[in-house]
Assembly symmetry: C2
Homo-oligomer: 325 residues x 2
């Protein structure tokens, strides 16, 4: 069993390698790939050294699975080639997510879709969408969904290594060189993730809307998100409000959230916090409240490690599912 | 004209003194008051030194106005006495805000209420409520309000000097002594401001609900807030969603926000950011969007300096209005 990882030296790629080790992913050989400037670098995985290559025709031949996390442009170029060369691609970029021939999967929600992949590409959703839809699916199973509102508190690692580097440089009192953010992020919050559309919505906000609808299989669901970058290193948080189709008393909502795989309901003295989930795969939900005025409206708070469950772990879970077929 | 300031050495009290100077508040004499442990401290105001006293019976005699910002307990004890001794009290604590005999005022919204003060106490609202209701009032004047949802990003200075000290200590790598927060706030976000009620709502969330309704004079308005502390020094941000009674096209909403005193609509390349409003009195609104699915629903972002417009400046504006009568 041979595994390729494209983007192996990035924030998500490194986390993928760690998660693959931790979960004892049954690969005998690793093909780590990155941009030409990383060519020749060595990385250690499973106690062995592997040499980083740049992608080139033929490199995916003999690979069973290829995990991609190197941005949309590289995915658009290399995912069809890798599939042609026989690998099933699990792509973490946004390039293929809305393609009707590409399933968009969070295994706890819609693992069965993985088999329907005419292009031999399976897309890994946006980090914030992943943690949101697992909680939404729990509520949907119990009472249906009519409307979703989400306000996100997204960590700098969502912008990759350069996001982490910018925050660290600013906290050390230096000017951040090559910061991916529109302004200083230390001591600030910035309501802008991704390019702004003419409608006023940002790309990240549209991803949450479009991807949640596709993953849940509810193309008409009302979804509106406001996405905000916060000076947190790792861990996205989301304040969510949902309107259900049927009444859902708090105790039934609690039971639904507790029954959902991958999710942990945390109530009591400690709220779910991004600093506490960094390094974990679990999605934590807390602050569950019934709206004081409106029927069938619930509010809650969802936290997860955006590099792990929001990216690497979800991709590895998809790969595991592919191997199980 | 003689002015007392109770809580003169706190984060809001110090800002009050600065704002009074800047606005050339027409007081000839200052009576700075604080807790007994600050008694005897000296502070400079208008180029003169003033000696800090602890409040005691008779100290408010001869004062025209008394600005209070020393917490609810001191306000409950001293506001009626100050009023008996002849001062009009402008109280920044939550002690009197919901009292039917006490007007709760944001001058841009409901200045006329200041005259209806049978107790001779006027309450200054919660910091997040102030910046929210100015934007809400603009929308209400144009199209009415049916429902409000707010998710807040609140700075550590909302918890006073000890909130600022905790963040600064943590950023310097030290353990924060006497932190007012439930967990480390540097590199974190904490969805808990004020005590948790049995319903699951926090005190701060209830303040935003109850106070917005009272200030707007809409006791039945549906208001739900999720309040979150973020590692920002000064400046609260709010992601708000409103449902209006009548349709309100985006251009009409823009015109309504631009026409609102105290408010600045900021659109284009730069979003309103908390770091940019620190030290300013203006409330900035941006990210105005029409909901992609639902009629009569708008989303926007509101930022203000919580120590100034969210506390000190609003209190001084109220005091100025009282003197104008």
């Amino acid at each position: 069993m041979r595994l390729a990882v494209l983007g192996a030296t990035g924030a998500v790629g490194r986390t993928m390698l760690r998660v693959l080790e931790e979960r004892r992913f049954p690969a005998d050989a690793l093909v780590p790939l990155a941009s030409p400037r990383s060519r020749g670098a060595k990385l250690v995985w499973r106690g062995r050294e592997w040499r980083v290559e740049a992608p080139e025709p033929g490199v995916f031949r003999g690979c069973d699975v290829a995990l991609f996390s190197a941005g949309g442009e590289r995915s658009r170029e290399w995912a069809p080639r890798a599939a042609d060369e026989g690998a099933v691609v699990v792509d973490n970029s946004s390039a293929w997510r809305l393609d009707p021939g590409v399933p968009l999967v969070v295994p706890e929600v819609n693992a069965a879709r993985i088999r329907e992949r005419p292009r031999n590409i399976v897309a890994n959703p946006n980090c914030a969408a992943i943690q949101l839809v697992v909680a939404l699916e729990a509520i949907r199973r119990a009472a249906g969904l009519r409307r979703v509102l989400a306000t996100t508190f997204q960590s700098v690692s969502g912008a990759g290594q350069k996001g982490i580097a910018a925050l660290e440089a600013e906290l050390a009192g230096a000017q951040a060189q090559g910061s991916p953010f529109a302004a200083a992020i230390a001591g600030n919050v910035i309501p802008c993730i991704g390019p702004r559309r003419e409608s006023g919505w940002n790309e990240e906000e549209q991803k949450i809307r479009n991807e949640s609808r596709k993953i849940l299989g509810l193309p008409g669901l009302a979804v509106a998100a406001t996405c905000v970058r916060v000076p947190v290193r790792i861990g996205h948080s989301i304040a969510a409000t949902v309107e259900t189709e049927q009444p859902l008393p708090l105790e039934a909502a609690r039971a639904a959230l507790r029954a959902m795989p991958g999710l942990e309901l945390v109530e009591g003295a400690h709220d779910p916090l991004p600093r506490d989930v960094a390094g974990l795969d679990v999605i934590r939900v807390g602050r569950l409240r019934a709206d004081p005025d409106l029927p069938n409206v619930l509010h809650f708070w969802v936290v997860a490690d955006n590099l792990r469950k929001g990216a690497a772990t979800n991709a590895v879970q998809i790969a595991e599912q592919i191997l199980r077929e």
